[in-house]
């Protein structure tokens, strides 16, 4: 059994994590993949200077996501005796989570309903809805 957990770095993501932990604890063997997607589009417009610094910025964004969101989440799960690993990727949130779940052969995706903050709501609120509509794997939305 493999579960993909989509986190958004907000407190509502904690609920999704908690839910997944409880679910995994009830199973005999379960692998958990904790995913954080950095919203990014290959079709945006940038200045030459932004392009030149893009690689550096990308590394920084990945590092921050690992440090602040994924590493603590993975630690919570492994401390509970579960097998967990982290994946961070740039892209459209809904598409990317679905692709990862599909490629990993996961049996379920677990995400939070919608986060509280304005900015993350803009990103993750609609992404949850998109994910539910388009995912190729069952999705559990944690309230």
């Amino acid at each position: 059994m493999k579960l993909v957990i989509g986190l958004d770095g907000q407190s509502s993501g904690e609920k999704a994590l908690e839910f997944a932990k409880n679910l995994a604890n009830r199973m005999e063997s379960c692998e958990l993949v904790v995913v954080y997607v950095i919203e990014w589009s290959p079709f945006s417009f940038q200045t030459p200077e932004e392009n030149a610094q893009r690689h550096k910025r990308r590394e920084e964004e990945i590092e921050i996501a690992m440090e602040r969101v994924l590493n603590p989440a993975v630690k919570t799960l492994t401390d509970a005796g579960l097998t967990a690993r982290a994946v961070v990727r740039h892209g459209d949130v809904a598409d990317t989570i679905d692709n990862i779940a599909h490629d990993e052969g996961a049996s379920q995706i677990i995400v939070a309903r919608s986060s509280a903050g304005g900015f993350s709501k803009r990103i993750f609120g609609s992404s949850t809805a998109n994910l539910v509509m388009d995912a190729r794997v069952p999705v559990t939305v944690v309230a």
Partner: protein
């Protein structure tokens, strides 16, 4: 270090001439002084670049660019047509590894390079070309655009292959890097010197076509609506905004522009299409004029050759193929295959010249702003005999505005906004190209970067204050001077690109390089 001094002396001389304080000239306005000083300081350089081939009135530099583009087209067996579909696939992201998401995409590199080239060349430059060379100039412009795709392919592939990647993750690339590294690799002498010469011309091109011409035409567009006022006022405002972006790091202004510019581009093409649809019964006639004019000249100054020179010149100035500027913009892309960036870049001359420039030319021809002598069917020349007479005596951006205005009355206002934004985004792009050449010469560092950025802003004021003639001449000359060095070096380096092309197309055929399912 001697180079720094030489450049400073040059700059000092320039300003000494540009701002003379003699009593005799006190009667001249500031704008006139700047103008007189400017043509005196740059005339020799312009004459050298635009010298005619002995016994003809054909400028050698135009020949140089077209021969270059033709050689690359033949050498790579019409790569621009064979790999056109593949280029579209790359831009769409069909071949992008999802694990590399977050790096600069092919689309972003293309969009950034395009925002540096789509601009006044497409609006004002085409009007100048059609105004002097007649509709026939359009034919030669399209031909030059199609050939130029191969030049872009060559230089952008090399730009990515030989860029510098720094430990902090940032990149610097462009002709100066591929010339010095590539020559070194091939065991050829003189790479370093050629790279330095290119960099000097690139700085001049950045200050000329990438700056003064833009400021100048932006002022023309604004004063066309508000009425005449001194150019230096526009210059100071523009310089202030550009300063805020490139020195102050006010990213929000650049970000807004980068988003509005593509929108303006679409709006411009959309408006051109509307004018064409409204006059759809004239489209056949307009193409007839373009073909007839291409081979007979239809009475323009210089006849067929006159049309050809204008068409080739404008195409080169507009899409910058062979100039080397795009290689600087494209080198930021993170890709395992440098040649993919070459494929993507070959779309630029197509979009810039074959689509957008042709739209402008068609609108000008169809709107019948150019006066035809009904008796002969040829175009009438103006009093000086230097250009075709127009309905209201308009030239440059004013001619384009009048042509659009004849079909959509309020469009000149939109056009003025488009000109200002295009000018601004081109300045931002060229400030980066110039900066890369500057740091290649003087080394990376905050202090050296700031020096260039301040010089860049000063030239905006000069460009807005000078009159069109000397500015357009110097802008063309400086940008073409870059092409002299760049194309010369590309002849030596093109075999490196051919090796890449052979390897890549073999792997594409064998299925080793395949699309990713997204």
């Amino acid at each position: 270090m001697t180079l720094v001094f030489r450049f400073l002396i040059m700059a000092a001389t320039f300003f000494a001439i540009a701002v003379p304080a003699s009593a005799q000239e006190a009667a001249m306005t500031l704008d006139e002084k700047v103008n007189a000083g400017f043509s005196a300081a740059t005339g020799w350089f312009v004459n050298l670049i635009f010298m005619s081939i002995p016994g003809t009135n054909f400028p050698w530099i135009v020949m140089w660019l077209v021969i270059g583009a033709t050689v690359f087209t033949l050498y790579f067996a019409a790569v621009q047509f064979r790999f056109f579909g593949h280029a579209i696939g790359l831009v769409k992201g069909d071949y992008s590894d999802p694990n590399d998401a977050g790096e600069v995409s092919h689309f972003q590199a293309l969009a950034t390079a395009l925002s540096g080239t789509v601009g006044l060349g497409n609006i004002a430059g085409v009007a100048v070309a059609v105004g002097i060379g007649g509709p026939g100039a359009t034919f030669w412009m399209i031909l030059a655009g199609l050939l130029g795709m191969a030049s872009k392919f060559t230089e952008c592939t090399l730009g990515v292959k030989y860029r510098n990647e720094y430990p902090d993750g940032t990149v610097s690339g462009g002709p100066m890097y591929y010339i010095s590294k590539g020559f070194n690799e091939l065991g050829l002498p003189g790479g370093k010197i050629l790279a330095v010469v290119f960099s000097i011309f690139c700085i001049l091109g950045a200050l000329g076509g990438g700056n003064m011409f833009q400021a100048n035409q932006a002022h023309a567009a604004i004063s066309g609506i508000t009425g005449e006022y001194p150019g230096w006022i526009t210059g100071v405002i523009f310089a202030g905004v550009v300063f805020a972006v490139i020195v102050g790091g006010v990213k929000s202004i650049a970000r807004v522009t980068e988003k509005v510019v593509p929108f303006m581009g679409v709006l411009y093409v959309g408006a051109a299409l509307i004018v064409l649809i409204v006059n759809f019964n004239m489209i056949g006639w307009a193409f007839g004029q373009i073909f007839a004019g291409a081979f007979t000249g239809l009475g323009v100054a210089g006849g067929m050759v006159g049309a050809l020179i204008q068409g080739f010149k404008r195409a080169a100035f507009s899409n910058e193929a062979g100039v080397g500027s795009a290689a600087i913009a494209h080198s930021a892309v993170k890709t395992k295959e440098p040649i993919t960036e070459g494929f993507v870049s070959l779309l630029e001359p197509l979009i810039d010249t074959v689509v957008i420039c042709t739209m402008t030319a068609l609108v000008i021809v169809i709107s019948q702003q150019l006066i035809i002598d009904q008796a002969t069917g040829n175009y009438m020349l103006n009093e000086a005999g230097s250009a075709i007479a127009t309905v209201d005596g308009n030239t440059g951006v004013a001619l384009t505005a009048a042509a659009f205005g004849s079909a959509i009355s309020w469009f000149p206002f939109v056009l003025a906004i488009a000109v200002i934004l295009f000018a601004f985004s081109t300045m931002i792009s060229w400030s980066y190209y110039g900066l890369k050449a500057w740091t290649y010469l003087f080394g990376e560092g905050k202090g050296t970067e700031l020096t260039f950025k301040i010089i860049f802003c000063i030239f905006i004021v000069i460009g807005a204050a000078a009159s069109l003639g000397p500015v357009i001449d110097f802008s063309d000359a400086a940008i073409f001077a870059m092409a002299v060095v760049n194309i010369f070096c590309l002849y030596f380096l093109m075999k490196i690109v051919r090796k890449e092309l052979a390897s890549y197309s073999a792997r594409l055929k064998s299925g080793e390089i395949k699309k990713f399912s997204h």
